[in-house]
Protein backbone atom coordinates (compact mmCIF):
# COMPACT_ATOMS: atom_id res chain seq x y z
CA UNK A 1 0.00 0.00 0.00
CA UNK A 2 1.54 3.25 -1.07
CA UNK A 3 1.35 6.33 1.04
CA UNK A 4 -1.26 8.63 -0.52
CA UNK A 5 0.63 11.71 0.59
CA UNK A 6 3.81 10.57 -1.13
CA UNK A 7 1.74 9.68 -4.14
CA UNK A 8 0.22 13.15 -4.19
CA UNK A 9 3.65 14.68 -4.09
CA UNK A 10 4.84 12.43 -6.90
CA UNK A 11 1.79 13.23 -8.97
CA UNK A 12 2.17 16.93 -8.39
CA UNK A 13 5.77 16.70 -9.48
CA UNK A 14 4.89 14.64 -12.52
CA UNK A 15 2.10 16.92 -13.66
CA UNK A 16 3.74 20.09 -12.58
CA UNK A 17 0.48 21.01 -10.91
CA UNK A 18 -1.37 20.67 -7.67
CA UNK A 19 -3.10 17.44 -6.78
CA UNK A 20 -6.01 17.07 -4.38
CA UNK A 21 -5.18 15.95 -0.85
CA UNK A 22 -6.05 12.33 -1.57
CA UNK A 23 -3.76 12.19 -4.59
CA UNK A 24 -6.50 12.80 -7.12
CA UNK A 25 -5.82 15.20 -9.97
CA UNK A 26 -8.47 17.92 -9.94
CA UNK A 27 -10.46 18.42 -13.17
CA UNK A 28 -8.84 21.79 -13.80
CA UNK A 29 -5.34 20.33 -13.38
CA UNK A 30 -5.49 17.50 -15.88
CA UNK A 31 -2.71 17.78 -18.47
CA UNK A 32 -3.74 16.92 -22.00
CA UNK A 33 -1.20 16.23 -24.71
CA UNK A 34 -2.81 15.95 -28.14
CA UNK A 35 -5.95 15.06 -26.23
CA UNK A 36 -4.31 12.22 -24.30
CA UNK A 37 -3.69 12.09 -20.56
CA UNK A 38 -0.62 10.07 -19.64
CA UNK A 39 -0.90 10.15 -15.87
CA UNK A 40 -3.52 8.31 -13.85
CA UNK A 41 -6.09 10.66 -12.34
CA UNK A 42 -5.88 8.85 -9.00
CA UNK A 43 -2.69 6.85 -8.89
CA UNK A 44 -4.84 3.83 -8.05
CA UNK A 45 -5.03 1.34 -10.90
CA UNK A 46 -8.46 1.22 -12.51
CA UNK A 47 -10.62 -1.83 -11.78
CA UNK A 48 -12.08 -3.14 -15.04
CA UNK A 49 -14.74 -5.02 -13.07
CA UNK A 50 -16.36 -1.67 -12.27
CA UNK A 51 -16.43 -0.71 -15.94
CA UNK A 52 -19.91 -2.01 -16.79
CA UNK A 53 -21.48 -0.08 -13.89
CA UNK A 54 -19.86 3.14 -15.11
CA UNK A 55 -21.05 2.44 -18.65
CA UNK A 56 -24.68 1.98 -17.57
CA UNK A 57 -27.34 4.64 -17.18
CA UNK A 58 -26.66 5.37 -13.52
CA UNK A 59 -23.00 5.96 -14.28
CA UNK A 60 -21.77 7.83 -17.32
CA UNK A 61 -24.51 6.37 -19.54
CA UNK A 62 -21.95 5.59 -22.27
CA UNK A 63 -24.42 3.00 -23.59
CA UNK A 64 -26.86 5.77 -24.60
CA UNK A 65 -24.56 6.55 -27.53
CA UNK A 66 -22.14 3.63 -27.88
CA UNK A 67 -22.57 -0.04 -28.60
CA UNK A 68 -20.44 -2.28 -26.38
CA UNK A 69 -20.92 -5.99 -26.98
CA UNK A 70 -19.04 -6.99 -23.82
CA UNK A 71 -21.73 -5.52 -21.58
CA UNK A 72 -25.18 -7.01 -21.78
CA UNK A 73 -27.27 -3.84 -21.84
CA UNK A 74 -30.36 -3.39 -24.04
CA UNK A 75 -30.82 -0.64 -26.64
CA UNK A 76 -27.26 0.59 -27.13
CA UNK A 77 -27.18 3.93 -28.93
CA UNK A 78 -25.60 4.64 -32.30
CA UNK A 79 -24.50 8.25 -31.89
CA UNK A 80 -20.85 7.49 -31.23
CA UNK A 81 -18.65 4.71 -32.61
CA UNK A 82 -19.05 1.16 -31.22
CA UNK A 83 -16.46 0.60 -28.50
CA UNK A 84 -15.68 -3.02 -29.35
CA UNK A 85 -11.93 -3.26 -29.87
CA UNK A 86 -11.32 0.19 -28.33
CA UNK A 87 -8.38 -1.23 -26.37
CA UNK A 88 -6.67 -2.21 -29.62
CA UNK A 89 -7.30 1.10 -31.37
CA UNK A 90 -6.29 3.48 -28.59
CA UNK A 91 -3.64 3.70 -25.90
CA UNK A 92 -4.61 3.96 -22.26
CA UNK A 93 -3.55 7.62 -22.25
CA UNK A 94 -5.71 8.36 -25.27
CA UNK A 95 -8.72 6.63 -23.75
CA UNK A 96 -8.24 8.49 -20.48
CA UNK A 97 -8.13 11.78 -22.38
CA UNK A 98 -11.19 10.95 -24.48
CA UNK A 99 -13.29 9.94 -21.49
CA UNK A 100 -12.12 12.90 -19.39
CA UNK A 101 -12.69 15.46 -22.15
CA UNK A 102 -13.15 14.20 -25.68
CA UNK A 103 -13.25 17.75 -27.04
CA UNK A 104 -9.49 18.06 -26.42
CA UNK A 105 -8.91 15.51 -29.19
CA UNK A 106 -12.10 16.10 -31.21
CA UNK A 107 -13.17 19.73 -30.80
CA UNK A 108 -16.60 19.22 -32.40
CA UNK A 109 -17.39 15.98 -30.61
CA UNK A 110 -20.90 15.71 -29.22
CA UNK A 111 -19.52 13.61 -26.36
CA UNK A 112 -19.95 15.19 -22.93
CA UNK A 113 -16.77 15.98 -21.02
CA UNK A 114 -16.82 13.64 -18.06
CA UNK A 115 -14.04 15.22 -16.02
CA UNK A 116 -14.70 18.91 -16.20
CA UNK A 117 -16.49 21.29 -13.86
CA UNK A 118 -16.35 24.69 -15.54
CA UNK A 119 -16.96 26.48 -18.79
CA UNK A 120 -20.60 25.46 -19.19
CA UNK A 121 -23.49 27.53 -20.54
CA UNK A 122 -26.53 27.52 -18.22
CA UNK A 123 -25.45 24.41 -16.29
CA UNK A 124 -27.96 22.90 -13.90
CA UNK A 125 -27.82 20.50 -10.99
CA UNK A 126 -28.25 17.14 -12.73
CA UNK A 127 -31.77 17.05 -14.26
CA UNK A 128 -33.46 19.40 -11.78
CA UNK A 129 -33.37 22.48 -14.08
CA UNK A 130 -31.98 24.38 -11.10
CA UNK A 131 -28.74 26.37 -11.25
CA UNK A 132 -25.97 25.11 -8.97
CA UNK A 133 -25.32 26.97 -5.73
CA UNK A 134 -21.71 25.83 -5.48
CA UNK A 135 -19.12 24.19 -7.70
CA UNK A 136 -20.37 21.37 -9.91
CA UNK A 137 -19.09 17.83 -9.52
CA UNK A 138 -17.64 16.28 -12.67
CA UNK A 139 -19.99 13.81 -14.41
CA UNK A 140 -17.71 10.95 -13.35
CA UNK A 141 -15.26 10.74 -10.46
CA UNK A 142 -11.56 10.34 -11.14
CA UNK A 143 -11.68 6.70 -10.03
CA UNK A 144 -14.74 5.97 -12.18
CA UNK A 145 -12.76 7.25 -15.14
CA UNK A 146 -9.76 5.09 -14.25
CA UNK A 147 -12.09 2.07 -13.89
CA UNK A 148 -13.83 2.60 -17.22
CA UNK A 149 -10.51 3.21 -18.98
CA UNK A 150 -9.18 -0.04 -17.50
CA UNK A 151 -12.32 -1.77 -18.77
CA UNK A 152 -12.03 -0.26 -22.24
CA UNK A 153 -8.41 -1.47 -22.41
CA UNK A 154 -9.74 -5.04 -22.06
CA UNK A 155 -11.83 -4.63 -25.25
CA UNK A 156 -9.40 -6.06 -27.78
CA UNK A 157 -10.00 -6.98 -31.39
Amino acid sequence: MRNPLTLAAVLAALCGSAALADGTVAPGDVKYEDGAVAVSLTGTPGDPANGPAVIDRKGGNCIACHQISAVNLPFPGEIGPPLDGAGSRWTEAELRGIVANAKMMFPDSMMPSFYKTEGYIRPGVAYTSKPPEGPLDPLLSAQQIEDVVAFLMTLKD
Binding site: P76, I79, Y120, T128
Partner: protein, 281 residues
Protein backbone atom coordinates in the same frame (compact mmCIF):
# COMPACT_ATOMS: atom_id res chain seq x y z
CA UNK B 1 -27.84 6.27 -48.85
CA UNK B 2 -28.45 7.35 -45.28
CA UNK B 3 -31.61 5.29 -45.20
CA UNK B 4 -29.81 2.22 -46.44
CA UNK B 5 -27.19 2.73 -43.78
CA UNK B 6 -29.90 2.93 -41.15
CA UNK B 7 -31.63 -0.16 -42.39
CA UNK B 8 -28.35 -2.03 -42.15
CA UNK B 9 -27.78 -0.79 -38.64
CA UNK B 10 -31.29 -1.76 -37.65
CA UNK B 11 -30.70 -5.23 -38.99
CA UNK B 12 -27.34 -5.54 -37.27
CA UNK B 13 -28.32 -4.23 -33.86
CA UNK B 14 -30.54 -7.06 -32.80
CA UNK B 15 -31.63 -5.40 -29.57
CA UNK B 16 -32.95 -2.31 -31.37
CA UNK B 17 -36.58 -1.40 -30.77
CA UNK B 18 -38.91 -1.73 -33.73
CA UNK B 19 -38.38 1.16 -36.10
CA UNK B 20 -41.09 2.88 -38.02
CA UNK B 21 -41.86 2.26 -41.63
CA UNK B 22 -40.05 5.27 -43.05
CA UNK B 23 -41.92 5.02 -46.33
CA UNK B 24 -45.34 5.21 -44.69
CA UNK B 25 -47.66 7.98 -45.82
CA UNK B 26 -49.67 10.07 -43.44
CA UNK B 27 -53.29 10.27 -44.47
CA UNK B 28 -55.67 11.50 -41.79
CA UNK B 29 -59.28 10.28 -41.73
CA UNK B 30 -58.71 8.63 -45.08
CA UNK B 31 -58.65 11.86 -47.05
CA UNK B 32 -56.28 14.47 -45.66
CA UNK B 33 -52.87 13.83 -47.21
CA UNK B 34 -50.04 15.29 -45.13
CA UNK B 35 -46.62 16.03 -46.59
CA UNK B 36 -44.11 14.49 -44.14
CA UNK B 37 -40.98 14.97 -46.28
CA UNK B 38 -40.15 18.13 -48.18
CA UNK B 39 -37.11 19.85 -49.68
CA UNK B 40 -35.42 21.99 -47.04
CA UNK B 41 -35.95 25.75 -47.13
CA UNK B 42 -33.12 27.77 -48.73
CA UNK B 43 -31.91 29.04 -45.34
CA UNK B 44 -31.04 25.44 -44.40
CA UNK B 45 -28.53 25.03 -47.22
CA UNK B 46 -25.47 23.24 -45.91
CA UNK B 47 -27.44 21.98 -42.90
CA UNK B 48 -30.30 19.85 -44.20
CA UNK B 49 -31.36 18.69 -47.66
CA UNK B 50 -34.75 17.38 -46.66
CA UNK B 51 -37.05 18.21 -43.80
CA UNK B 52 -38.93 15.31 -42.21
CA UNK B 53 -41.90 15.30 -39.87
CA UNK B 54 -41.43 13.68 -36.47
CA UNK B 55 -44.31 11.37 -37.42
CA UNK B 56 -41.97 9.47 -39.78
CA UNK B 57 -39.68 8.50 -36.89
CA UNK B 58 -42.37 7.00 -34.68
CA UNK B 59 -43.44 3.36 -34.43
CA UNK B 60 -46.18 1.95 -36.64
CA UNK B 61 -48.57 1.92 -33.67
CA UNK B 62 -47.92 5.57 -32.78
CA UNK B 63 -48.19 6.58 -36.43
CA UNK B 64 -51.56 4.86 -36.72
CA UNK B 65 -53.01 6.79 -33.78
CA UNK B 66 -52.63 10.03 -35.72
CA UNK B 67 -54.31 8.71 -38.84
CA UNK B 68 -57.83 8.74 -37.48
CA UNK B 69 -59.31 11.45 -35.29
CA UNK B 70 -61.28 8.85 -33.35
CA UNK B 71 -57.99 7.20 -32.37
CA UNK B 72 -56.05 10.43 -31.79
CA UNK B 73 -56.14 11.02 -28.00
CA UNK B 74 -55.35 14.70 -28.59
CA UNK B 75 -58.75 15.31 -30.13
CA UNK B 76 -60.54 14.97 -26.79
CA UNK B 77 -58.71 18.08 -25.63
CA UNK B 78 -59.69 19.95 -28.77
CA UNK B 79 -63.34 19.24 -27.90
CA UNK B 80 -62.73 20.57 -24.44
CA UNK B 81 -61.12 23.73 -25.83
CA UNK B 82 -64.14 24.26 -28.09
CA UNK B 83 -66.30 24.48 -24.98
CA UNK B 84 -63.88 26.97 -23.46
CA UNK B 85 -63.93 28.93 -26.73
CA UNK B 86 -67.66 29.44 -26.31
CA UNK B 87 -67.58 30.14 -22.57
CA UNK B 88 -67.60 33.69 -21.19
CA UNK B 89 -64.69 34.41 -18.87
CA UNK B 90 -63.41 37.60 -17.21
CA UNK B 91 -64.75 41.03 -16.36
CA UNK B 92 -65.81 42.03 -19.89
CA UNK B 93 -68.42 39.30 -20.32
CA UNK B 94 -66.76 37.93 -23.44
CA UNK B 95 -65.77 34.53 -24.74
CA UNK B 96 -63.36 33.84 -27.59
CA UNK B 97 -66.41 33.37 -29.79
CA UNK B 98 -67.71 36.85 -28.96
CA UNK B 99 -65.09 38.36 -31.27
CA UNK B 100 -63.74 35.43 -33.28
CA UNK B 101 -67.01 33.55 -33.99
CA UNK B 102 -66.32 30.15 -35.52
CA UNK B 103 -62.64 29.18 -35.19
CA UNK B 104 -62.95 27.12 -38.38
CA UNK B 105 -63.07 30.41 -40.22
CA UNK B 106 -61.38 32.98 -37.99
CA UNK B 107 -58.40 30.80 -37.05
CA UNK B 108 -57.80 29.13 -40.40
CA UNK B 109 -54.17 29.51 -41.48
CA UNK B 110 -53.00 31.11 -38.23
CA UNK B 111 -50.87 28.24 -36.99
CA UNK B 112 -49.03 27.93 -40.31
CA UNK B 113 -47.51 31.43 -40.01
CA UNK B 114 -46.81 31.58 -36.28
CA UNK B 115 -44.65 32.65 -34.49
CA UNK B 116 -44.76 35.95 -36.35
CA UNK B 117 -44.00 39.62 -35.94
CA UNK B 118 -46.99 41.34 -34.35
CA UNK B 119 -46.87 44.98 -35.38
CA UNK B 120 -49.13 46.26 -32.58
CA UNK B 121 -46.90 44.63 -29.98
CA UNK B 122 -43.63 45.37 -31.81
CA UNK B 123 -42.36 41.86 -31.15
CA UNK B 124 -42.43 38.30 -32.44
CA UNK B 125 -45.11 36.30 -30.68
CA UNK B 126 -46.25 32.73 -30.48
CA UNK B 127 -49.94 31.83 -30.43
CA UNK B 128 -50.10 31.52 -26.61
CA UNK B 129 -48.89 35.12 -26.22
CA UNK B 130 -51.73 36.27 -28.47
CA UNK B 131 -54.26 34.16 -26.56
CA UNK B 132 -53.16 35.67 -23.26
CA UNK B 133 -53.23 39.17 -24.76
CA UNK B 134 -56.88 38.58 -25.65
CA UNK B 135 -57.64 37.12 -22.25
CA UNK B 136 -56.06 39.96 -20.29
CA UNK B 137 -56.78 42.98 -22.44
CA UNK B 138 -60.05 42.13 -24.19
CA UNK B 139 -61.76 39.65 -21.88
CA UNK B 140 -60.47 40.92 -18.54
CA UNK B 141 -59.61 37.31 -17.69
CA UNK B 142 -56.59 35.84 -16.00
CA UNK B 143 -53.79 34.78 -18.34
CA UNK B 144 -53.10 31.08 -18.64
CA UNK B 145 -49.75 29.52 -17.86
CA UNK B 146 -47.82 29.74 -21.13
CA UNK B 147 -47.07 26.03 -21.38
CA UNK B 148 -49.99 24.83 -19.24
CA UNK B 149 -52.80 22.44 -20.15
CA UNK B 150 -55.47 25.08 -20.87
CA UNK B 151 -53.11 26.86 -23.23
CA UNK B 152 -52.03 23.64 -24.95
CA UNK B 153 -55.66 22.71 -25.52
CA UNK B 154 -56.67 26.10 -26.89
CA UNK B 155 -53.60 26.13 -29.10
CA UNK B 156 -54.61 22.69 -30.37
CA UNK B 157 -58.06 23.97 -31.30
CA UNK B 158 -56.49 26.89 -33.17
CA UNK B 159 -53.88 24.61 -34.75
CA UNK B 160 -56.46 22.15 -36.01
CA UNK B 161 -57.90 24.89 -38.24
CA UNK B 162 -54.58 24.92 -40.16
CA UNK B 163 -54.09 21.18 -40.33
CA UNK B 164 -52.84 20.22 -43.77
CA UNK B 165 -51.64 23.74 -44.56
CA UNK B 166 -47.98 24.29 -45.40
CA UNK B 167 -45.78 25.79 -42.70
CA UNK B 168 -44.68 29.21 -43.91
CA UNK B 169 -43.25 31.39 -41.15
CA UNK B 170 -41.54 34.63 -42.15
CA UNK B 171 -37.89 34.96 -41.20
CA UNK B 172 -37.13 38.30 -42.81
CA UNK B 173 -38.27 41.87 -42.25
CA UNK B 174 -38.98 42.78 -38.64
CA UNK B 175 -38.75 39.09 -37.60
CA UNK B 176 -35.19 38.70 -38.79
CA UNK B 177 -33.27 39.67 -35.66
CA UNK B 178 -35.46 37.39 -33.54
CA UNK B 179 -34.89 34.59 -36.04
CA UNK B 180 -31.11 35.14 -35.86
CA UNK B 181 -31.28 34.96 -32.07
CA UNK B 182 -33.24 31.71 -32.33
CA UNK B 183 -30.65 30.27 -34.67
CA UNK B 184 -27.87 31.17 -32.26
CA UNK B 185 -29.72 29.39 -29.45
CA UNK B 186 -30.28 26.34 -31.69
CA UNK B 187 -26.53 25.89 -32.18
CA UNK B 188 -25.46 26.70 -28.59
CA UNK B 189 -24.38 23.79 -26.43
CA UNK B 190 -26.20 24.08 -23.11
CA UNK B 191 -25.88 22.40 -19.75
CA UNK B 192 -23.26 20.15 -18.23
CA UNK B 193 -23.72 17.69 -21.07
CA UNK B 194 -22.99 20.53 -23.53
CA UNK B 195 -25.62 19.60 -26.06
CA UNK B 196 -27.17 21.87 -28.68
CA UNK B 197 -30.44 21.24 -30.48
CA UNK B 198 -28.31 20.58 -33.57
CA UNK B 199 -26.22 17.85 -31.94
CA UNK B 200 -29.22 15.54 -31.77
CA UNK B 201 -31.71 16.90 -34.28
CA UNK B 202 -29.50 18.04 -37.15
CA UNK B 203 -26.44 15.80 -36.90
CA UNK B 204 -28.04 12.64 -35.56
CA UNK B 205 -31.66 12.41 -36.66
CA UNK B 206 -32.44 8.84 -37.63
CA UNK B 207 -29.98 7.50 -35.06
CA UNK B 208 -30.90 5.85 -31.80
CA UNK B 209 -29.96 7.49 -28.51
CA UNK B 210 -30.52 4.47 -26.29
CA UNK B 211 -34.12 3.45 -27.04
CA UNK B 212 -35.12 6.82 -28.54
CA UNK B 213 -35.21 7.28 -32.29
CA UNK B 214 -33.96 10.83 -32.84
CA UNK B 215 -36.10 12.99 -35.11
CA UNK B 216 -35.33 16.35 -36.66
CA UNK B 217 -37.14 18.01 -33.78
CA UNK B 218 -39.69 19.55 -36.12
CA UNK B 219 -42.57 21.36 -34.41
CA UNK B 220 -45.20 21.23 -37.16
CA UNK B 221 -47.01 18.58 -35.10
CA UNK B 222 -47.40 20.69 -31.95
CA UNK B 223 -49.27 20.77 -29.70
CA UNK B 224 -48.39 17.08 -29.51
CA UNK B 225 -50.16 14.42 -27.52
CA UNK B 226 -47.36 12.44 -25.93
CA UNK B 227 -47.97 8.84 -24.93
CA UNK B 228 -45.31 9.43 -22.29
CA UNK B 229 -47.37 11.92 -20.28
CA UNK B 230 -50.85 11.41 -21.80
CA UNK B 231 -51.56 15.07 -22.42
CA UNK B 232 -51.08 17.77 -25.02
CA UNK B 233 -47.64 19.36 -24.89
CA UNK B 234 -46.72 22.82 -26.10
CA UNK B 235 -43.51 23.60 -27.97
CA UNK B 236 -42.06 25.58 -25.06
CA UNK B 237 -42.77 22.71 -22.67
CA UNK B 238 -40.78 20.41 -24.96
CA UNK B 239 -37.95 22.94 -25.24
CA UNK B 240 -37.90 23.09 -21.45
CA UNK B 241 -37.59 19.31 -21.23
CA UNK B 242 -34.83 19.20 -23.81
CA UNK B 243 -32.68 21.82 -22.06
CA UNK B 244 -33.29 20.09 -18.73
CA UNK B 245 -32.02 16.88 -20.29
CA UNK B 246 -28.72 18.58 -21.16
CA UNK B 247 -28.31 18.98 -17.38
CA UNK B 248 -29.03 22.61 -18.05
CA UNK B 249 -31.27 25.40 -16.80
CA UNK B 250 -34.08 26.02 -19.33
CA UNK B 251 -35.21 29.45 -20.41
CA UNK B 252 -38.62 30.67 -19.26
CA UNK B 253 -41.56 29.41 -21.32
CA UNK B 254 -43.07 32.34 -23.17
CA UNK B 255 -39.88 34.36 -22.77
CA UNK B 256 -37.88 36.03 -25.51
CA UNK B 257 -35.36 33.18 -25.88
CA UNK B 258 -37.81 30.31 -26.34
CA UNK B 259 -40.01 32.47 -28.57
CA UNK B 260 -36.99 33.19 -30.77
CA UNK B 261 -36.08 29.50 -30.76
CA UNK B 262 -39.66 28.58 -31.66
CA UNK B 263 -39.57 30.93 -34.65
CA UNK B 264 -36.26 29.47 -35.80
CA UNK B 265 -37.30 25.84 -35.34
CA UNK B 266 -40.66 26.54 -37.02
CA UNK B 267 -38.74 27.99 -40.00
CA UNK B 268 -36.77 24.75 -40.27
CA UNK B 269 -40.14 23.12 -40.95
CA UNK B 270 -41.17 25.50 -43.74
CA UNK B 271 -42.50 23.21 -46.45
CA UNK B 272 -43.91 20.58 -44.10
CA UNK B 273 -47.57 20.69 -43.11
CA UNK B 274 -49.28 21.54 -39.86
CA UNK B 275 -50.27 18.26 -38.20
CA UNK B 276 -51.36 19.29 -34.72
CA UNK B 277 -52.58 17.88 -32.57
CA UNK B 278 -50.15 15.11 -33.45
CA UNK B 279 -49.36 11.92 -31.54
CA UNK B 280 -45.80 11.26 -30.43
CA UNK B 281 -44.09 9.07 -27.86
Amino acid sequence: MKRLHMALLAALVSASPVLADEEAELVINGDLHIVTRAPAAPHLEGHLDEVISGWVFRSDETQALQMDDFDNPGMVFVDRAMEVWNTVDGSEGKSCASCHNDPAESMKGIRAVYPKWVESAKEVRGIPAQVNDCRENRMGAKPWKYEGNEMAEMEALITLQSRGMTVDVAIDGPAQSTWERGKEIYYTRYGQLELSCANCHENNFGNMIRADHLSQGQINGFPAYRLKNTKLNTVHDRFKGCVRDTRGVPFKPGGAEFTALELYVASRGNGLMIEGPSVRN
